[in-house]
């Protein structure tokens, strides 16, 4: 049998139904065999019921008529979020104008996208070409005179053509560009003739 001093601190919570299941079971078992504690638990329950009744009476005395309407009016006065306003604006457009507006918007979007796709500058940009490459190209000579083979070496970086790899048995290879004639030159000098 559990001692009453261990149970009594739990009686108030027991009356309010706030105990965890193990403690609830422990208190309930004790109360079944202890009339004193059972009486005390009944007192706690009566006290709780009285408190609840007085609380509800006080709550009912508060005037709540028109409270919901007042809250709704306050919400209307508050500024809505940007997304909400945008959606409301779209809805108002939809109400005001005919379906022709939607069609016209789509047509404008198609025209803009077509112009973007067909514009050479944008095509260059999308293809990763840098127009700056061509700017300093005129008559620039790259003489490669080091190793006979130069795998994966970037050559003629300043010409309109882009040479990503150049291999030759010739120890002296020259690469240059003539941008005004859109011509790139790879020169493999004859090693005996000297030019």
């Amino acid at each position: 049998m559990i001692d009453c001093s261990e149970i009594r601190p739990l009686l108030s919570a027991f009356g309010d139904g706030e105990l965890e299941p193990p403690e609830l079971l422990k208190v309930a078992r004790h109360l079944a065999g202890c009339p004193d504690c059972e009486r005390e638990a009944a007192d706690f329950s009566a006290l709780g019921a009285g408190l609840r009744d007085s609380y509800e009476a006080a709550l009912n005395a508060i005037p709540l008529d028109g409270f919901a309407e007042a809250v709704q009016a306050r919400i209307v006065q508050l500024r809505p979020s940007f997304v909400a306003r945008f959606q409301r604006w779209l809805a108002s457009l939809d109400d005001q104008f005919s379906p022709a507006l939607s069609f016209a918007s789509a047509a404008v979007a198609v025209a803009v996208l077509t112009a973007i796709v067909l514009t050479p500058y944008v095509r260059d940009y999308m293809s990763g070409r840098n127009p700056q490459i061509a700017a300093n190209a005129y008559h620039h000579l790259n003489a490669i005179t080091q190793e006979p083979r130069l795998p994966e070496k970037m050559l003629a970086e300043d010409s309109r053509a882009v040479i990503s790899k150049l291999e030759s048995e010739n120890p002296a290879v020259a690469v240059w560009s003539e941008p005004h004639t859109d011509t790139t030159v790879i020169w493999l000098p004859d090693q005996q003739a000297g030019r």
Partner: protein, 176 residues
């Protein structure tokens, strides 16, 4: 948001997807490319410039090396598509392999290998603007040297304005 506006947004998204796919479609093979090769001998034999060279003579004059003789040896054009190599027999027993790889914007990515007999003399990978020329020069030929004009044209692909019209005959069916 109304269904009508949602439709506009879906249409825009579709157009973007189409644009991306169209751009991606330029990458792999399939594009037709015409490769024209003109082989010229340059020498100091005081024979002047071959009239058949036409507008190519102006390009020859821009080279830092000047010769008194420029003679057109051979002109050849072949039609191929990206990913398919074509072979040109050049004067002096040289062989030129040209393999267009892809079209990137208005650039033609290609691989060139120049053989002297069975020995690779030079190989390069490059991107050439559509209609542009690559001059491959320097190899010894008879009493002078060989200058090879390589021009790549991808029909239907934008590029710089054509400076002259090549007269090189083109082999291969147009629809290949």
């Amino acid at each position: 948001m109304s269904a009508r506006w949602s439709g506009v947004i879906v249409a825009l998204a579709g157009l973007l997807v189409f644009t991306v796919q169209a751009r991606a479609g330029n990458k792999p093979g399939g594009h037709q490319v015409i490769v024209s090769i003109d082989s010229v001998m340059a020498a100091d034999t005081n024979e002047g410039i071959d009239r058949r060279l036409g507008a190519m003579a102006s390009r020859l004059r821009t080279l830092p090396f000047s010769y008194s003789t420029y003679r057109l040896l051979k002109s050849e054009g072949k039609r191929t598509s990206c990913g398919q190599m074509i072979v040109f027999a050049l004067p002096g027993g040289r062989i030129l392999h040209v393999a267009p790889r892809a079209i990137d914007g208005d650039m033609i990515a290609m691989e060139l290998v120049l053989f002297q007999g069975d020995r690779p003399e030079m190989s390069t990978e490059l991107k050439l603007p559509n209609h542009a020329f690559l001059i491959l020069g320097g190899p010894r030929y008879e009493q002078g040297m060989l200058i090879v004009f390589i021009r790549a044209d991808a029909p239907g692909v934008s590029g710089p304005p054509q400076i002259d019209n090549p007269t090189t005959p083109v082999e291969g069916p147009p629809g290949q």
